[in-house]
Amino acid sequence: MAEEAHGAEEGGLVFHPMDQFIVKPLFGDGAVGMFTVTNVTLWMAITVLCIVALLVLGTSRRATIPSRTQSVAELAYGFIYKMVEDVAGKDAIPYFPAVMTLFMFIVFSNFLGLLPMSFTTTSHIAVTAVLAMAVFLFVTLLGFWKHGLSFLGIFWITSAPLVLRPILALIEIISYFVRPLSHSIRLAGNMMAGHAVIKVFAAFAAVLAISPFAIVAITAIYALEVLVSFIQAYVFAILTCVYLKDAVSDPHH
């Protein structure tokens, strides 16, 4: 009602900040089934192509003195490798490709989502929840596989007084199971929020009186979003490393 009234008054001030997240079939106009080729497919494919271009084609010369693309690829490699080593420990090095996969996918999805008219795959809870659940299940299974039932020791804080331990164990268990929720919603929420805010300001830009302000605001928020895109990918990867550390390191220490 409010929108309609506005629309009538201002001559086209319409808010559809969430329309950019709609999953549409790429060909035709049918229902979205499981195997339908949608804009999700398109943008994930573009993500894959970008990753291949950077990490495979960019390094194809194997130059000792790297080109720019190769430098970026090596930078990303060194960045994630060091993160895994520092945060999760040396025992987690075998899982470095998995962390790298997550990081590269998220960072490229986030950046590609910033292109105008694009679709941000990581703004969907379905996507991030699958990633977070995969990390959660992987870490939990890995912990039980490595340490057996003593993996449950991460909930039993031996450094705390005995009286507090059951309470702490309860808190730890709750926070353990909230992990995939916060892990996924953080990424999707950040992406969704930033894009929706940009869209809202874009709608304001249609009003002549405030359009300069709106355009400046879009620029500023866009810059913030570039930063957030990277930081969220970084945070996702580093939290994966933190969770991995629980699984690979000794639970009693």
């Binding site: 009602m1 409010a2 929108e3 309609e4 559809h16 969430m18 329309d19 997240f21 709609i22 999953v23 549409k24 079939p25 106009d29 049918g30 229902a31 979205v32 089934g33 499981m34 195997f35 339908t36 949608t38 999700v40 497919t41 994930m44 494919a45 993500t47 894959v48 990753i51 291949v52 990490l55 495979v56 390094t59 194997r62 130059a63 000792t64 790297p66 190769q70 690829a73 090596e74 490699y77 060194g78 470095f96 490709p97 998995a98 790298m100 996969t101 590269m104 996918f105 795959t121 703004s123 969907h124 809870i125 379905a126 996507v127 699958v130 990633l131 995969a134 999707a188 969704m192």
Partner: protein
Amino acid sequence: MATETTTAELGHGSGLPETAAEAPGMPQLDFSTFSNQIFWLVITMIVIYFVLSRIALPRIGSVLADRQGAITNDIAAAEDLKQKAVEAEAAYNQALIDARAEASRIVEDAKAGIKADLDKAIAVADAEIAAKSAEAEKAIGAIRASASESAAEVAKDIAKDIVAAVAPGKIDAKSITAAVTAKIKG
């Protein structure tokens, strides 16, 4: 109302008119698209994982290892060359010292040789000078002798002439000569 408009649009956009009334306003909560997203996400992740773990990461890792190796080798080579340079400098300094010693030796030799030559030449010259001066001495002696002889002759002649002029015939030549000779000698 606003929600309804949005959902109506959504339903139209996603081609699901039958769920339009109930579909949530957030596309993120449209569960009918979840299976699609999850399916494509899983495929994407598998593709990326295999590309990274089979091709990209080993390659980048080996490039980085190569570079590390190259740097280590280069540093070792540089260390080697530095050592060689130090050695070369030492050898150079040694050669310089040797050359200086050799040079001073040659100078000494040359000095000694020149001195010997000089001494010899001086000796020869001395000998020559001595010979020459002896000869000159002799010549002077001869000249001196002949000069006194002729002076005596001249004196006798003059004495004879004087005597003849003063007292002609009274004193003979013999006694004049004897007297002059005695006078010259005395």
